[in-house]
């Protein structure tokens, strides 16, 4: 398939006249009522992207966006697996920008994180990204500079497989979930710093006093703290469309429709469901999974899920993305005709956190004697005693005895809570979905379609604690903010390492590691799901095995943008292993610093 440059530009820039008051948007993000009958099958190798600030209209209100090629979301970038591509990015802003290719295995200096993998793209200058990817699937791209992602600097990216696609479908759509704000994101962050609860309009009251008294009051933690920034501030959108704007899609009864769902929100985890229509999940974070039918799933920020739906009745179906704290939602429509509008379901009752979310659920200790008590004494690299107890926090995984690296964690201004009994919550669908009267998806359900490429057992374990003080709006790994980092987390090229994440906070965190996949230790054997972003639930301890293949410095952070902005970020450095032979000249030079000057 050849790439038609003119077609791409039309697709990306759209036609302002045709769209009128509903704002600029690329063809893939237009509703069916504006001619979008499914994704164009474009493949390209050369893309021109311009980052600028421009006016748009969302939910009937005029606003300013920072984004790519004048649209929110940005153009769909689609190319073929293993094909060398060039992306020329021009910065027309007055500030630096960048583009990070989320989930793509690219050389680290093309990863697009200012200060980690490159210097960033200065105002009025250009940068060319060049790479080919050894993977296919649904991904996305976004700014890694400032808070630009919050104001529209994100777009979808599809890599078509070089062979045949194991997923059969007749029609496809991309659904990019977002949380738009008409407030300057820096003001939002400042507000959180001044009074972290001030954007939450579900605080304990006299009529609903849980949180004021008992353990919650004593620890000054709120069971209603489900989201830092809520529907009071955000307008939830799908492809830039609010519920009123009605992003609508079409199907012919009996067709298999592939929905590529990407959570591009800055701060919002969504519950996704299509009342009356089962969804078959076929891909997670760009990698195919064994098809699994479900009725609802929770999608963390930066995660992607591809689902197949096959409506047979000629009626409109609602696609509902509900904010995890149920302070708002956005509804799109999949209908037999363009322009239809499905009925919007009412917001469901707001869930309340439990002691389990604090990492101290004593009740579920029954029958788990000898469980990990997460002693935090000293940075150790020894055979850790409690990991050796076998049936630790992960009831699915095989007993492991690994040398462990773990920080010495203490309470302090930035660390309110150290989870006394963190545990596996992989078999839970996510906060608020425990009791819904239909099927839900859990991480424990996911199995890779292909056998895992690397089935070695990990040789050591690195433990990272997710830490916070909500009152001060401080967020960090191991109690150390990114601004205070003195040393990165070190992996050795070629090693298989287990990364264990312990969530000591009351919030689910979508944790993203650049340049590598998490092989989620969920009992999947040699079919573990491989993810670029993994949601760690409150009070949860989970593990992922990682093959450190790509030498470089890689960003590692919470994908809730204000948590990252507050310091919940680190760098994982994969150090070159001199024992590994490399064809790549630059990698070789990294391994032997004198190689550059040698004759």
């Amino acid at each position: 398939m050849t790439f038609d440059r003119r077609h791409f530009l039309q697709t990306s820039l759209g036609s302002a006249a045709a769209l009128g008051a509903s704002g600029l948007m690329p063809a893939w993000a237009r509703p069916a009522s504006m001619g979008n009958l499914g994704l164009p099958a474009l493949t390209g190798t050369d893309f021109d992207l311009t980052v600028s600030q421009f006016p748009i209209r969302i939910d009937g209100r005029d606003t300013l966006a920072t984004g790519v090629n004048g649209t929110v979301p940005a153009p769909l970038i689609r190319f073929r697996e293993d094909t060398p591509i060039r992306l020329n990015v021009r910065n027309d802003l007055d500030v630096d920008t960048s583009i990070h290719w989320h989930g793509l295995l690219v050389p680290f200096h093309m990863d697009g994180v200012p200060g980690v993998s490159f210097p960033g793209i200065k105002p009025r200058s250009s940068f060319t990204y060049e790479f080919s990817t050894p993977q296919n699937g649904t991904y996305w791209y976004h700014s890694h500079s400032g808070l630009q992602e919050q104001v529209g600097h994100y777009g979808p990216l599809i890599i078509d497989p070089k062979g045949s696609d194991p997923v059969a479908y007749d029609r496809e759509y991309v659904l990019m979930l977002g949380d738009w704000t008409f407030t300057d994101p820096h003001r939002i962050f400042d507000k959180l710093k001044k009074n972290a609860e001030s954007l939450n309009f579900n605080q304990p009251t006299i009529g609903n006093p849980k949180g004021l008294t008992g353990m919650w009051g004593a620890m000054r933690m709120s069971p209603n703290d489900l989201a830092d920034v809520t529907g009071e501030t955000y307008t939830y959108v799908i492809n830039g469309h609010s519920t009123a704007d009605n992003f609508n899609m079409v199907f012919r009864p009996g067709e298999r429709v592939r929905l590529r769902i990407i959570n591009a929100a800055a701060m919002t985890l969504f519950n996704v469901r299509m009342p009356g229509l089962p969804m078959t999940v076929v891909q997670a974070d760009g990698l195919n999974v064994r098809p699994i039918e479900t009725d609802e799933f929770q999608i963390g920020v930066a995660e992607t899920y591809d689902v197949i739906v096959q409506p047979t009745e000629s009626q409109p179906f609602a696609f509902v993305a509900e904010s995890i704290d149920r302070s708002g939602q956005v509804v799109a429509t999949l209908g037999p005709r363009p322009g239809m509008r499905a009925a919007e379901p009412r917001l469901r009752p707001v869930p309340v956190l439990t002691m389990k979310d604090m990492g101290m659920d004593h009740s579920s200790m029954a029958g788990m004697s000898g469980m990990d008590h997460a002693s935090m004494s000293g940075r150790t690299a020894s055979m850790a005693g409690h990991a050796a107890m076998g049936h630790g926090p992960d009831p699915h995984g095989a007993p492991v005895q690994l040398p462990r690296v773990e920080a010495n964690l203490e309470r302090g201004p930035g660390v309110v809570n150290i989870a006394a009994m963190p545990m596996s919550r992989l078999d839970e669908p996510g906060i608020g979905l425990e009791d819904v009267p239909h099927r839900t998806l859990t991480y424990a359900d996911l199995r890779s379609l292909e056998p895992n490429p690397d089935t070695r057992a990990p040789a050591r374990e690195v433990v990272v604690h997710l830490t916070s003080n909500m009152e001060r709006y401080m967020w960090s790994f191991d109690g150390v903010k990114f601004s205070e980092i003195t040393a990165p987390i070190t992996f050795m090229e070629g090693e298989r390492v287990r990364l264990t994440l312990v969530n000591n906070t009351m919030m689910p965190h979508p944790i993203h590691l650049h340049g590598m996949f998490f092989d989620l230790v969920n009992g999947g054997g040699d079919h573990m799901p491989r993810k670029h972003t993994v949601v760690v639930k409150p009070g949860e301890k989970l593990s992922a095995d990682i093959s450190a293949e790509h030498v470089g410095d890689w960003a590692f952070h919470c994908h809730l943008i204000y948590h990252m902005h507050a310091g919940m970020m680190q760098v994982v450095t994969v150090q070159p292993n001199p024992l590994i032979e490399r064809k790549d000249r630059i990698d070789a030079a990294l391994a032997r610093p004198d190689a550059e000057t040698a004759p």
């Binding site: 201004p413 205070e484 040393a487």
Partner: protein, 272 residues
């Protein structure tokens, strides 16, 4: 009267502005050149360009200074006649651990057209525990004029969500006093908030020229019912009991004033 209020306001403001750059520089931390936390990209893009970008990205993700300006109470008290105006202000600037605090409280009698009490404090505030800051600095009394105090205090959030601000003051005359304030927010709804509040003052010895006796000099428990039009803008009405004890009460009575009264209040709580 207006002039004196304006002057008090200007003093608070100028102290804030003067100390601004001080804390700003105190907050910015530099990474020593020798200890680059990571540097692999230097090879591709140059050491200098990466050093600058690295410093920026680190500062932008964790080392951010914020400010806050809050009038906890800006109220009229029905103390008889034209009543009394009261302000209770806190402002801060800084990072997560170290902040500069400016606090000011005062009362203007509209009946007598004069400032009865006014003070301003400049404090260095350091987070020492999850919910507590230790604060140290100076307090200057604008009315009665001239006293300067060293201040050592503790401000934070006690278990069960009580906001506490406690401070000890040692004046240049050697007088030791203390003030403890505690507030609570009880929500009837997401907008309607009942705020019980108590303030207690103590003095180590008699200070007759200020009308203060030793021991517990007085307490001021009160409740204020706020309506948050926005979270940052809440008008309120309330009632406060102003009760003095011991020699302080005697001094007050001697000057023909009431040492035990209940007053209604109308005011505004606002922050930005």
């Amino acid at each position: 009267m207006i002039r004196r209020v304006a002057w008090a306001g200007a003093t608070v403001l100028s102290a804030f502005v003067l100390l601004f750059p001080l804390t700003a520089s105190a907050q910015s931390s530099e990474n020593p050149d020798d200890g680059k936390p990571w540097s692999m990209a230097d090879r591709y893009w140059g050491e200098e360009a990466m050093a600058e970008a690295r410093e920026e990205v680190m500062a932008a993700n964790g080392d951010l200074n914020t400010y806050m300006v809050m009038f906890d109470r800006l109220e009229w008290q029905d103390t008889g006649g034209d009543g009394t105006l009261l302000w209770d202000f806190q402002g801060w600037y800084g990072g997560d651990i170290d902040k500069l605090f400016i606090k000011s409280e005062g009362e203007v009698s509209l009946e007598d057209d004069e400032i009865e009490d006014a003070e301003v404090q400049a404090l260095w505030s350091r987070a020492v525990a999850p919910f507590w800051d230790v604060q140290a600095g100076l307090r200057y009394d604008l009315e009665p004029k001239g006293r300067t105090h060293a201040v050592l205090g503790l401000q934070g959030l006690a278990p069960y969500w009580f906001e506490v601000d406690a401070a000890a003051f040692l004046s240049t005359d050697g007088d030791l006093s203390a003030r403890i304030e505690a507030e609570y927010e009880l929500r009837f709804s997401q907008r309607l908030v009942l705020q019980p509040r108590i303030e207690a003052n103590l003095s180590a010895r008699d200070i007759p020229e200020l009308g203060i006796g030793s021991g517990l000099t007085g307490i001021e428990p009160g409740v204020r019912l706020q309506y948050e039009i926005r979270r940052t803008f809440a008008p309120y009405i309330g009632v406060e009991w102003q009760k003095q004890f011991g020699d302080t009460a005697d001094f007050t009575r001697a000057s023909d004033e009431d040492s035990d009264k209940i007053v209604g209040v109308v005011g505004l709580r606002t922050w930005f």
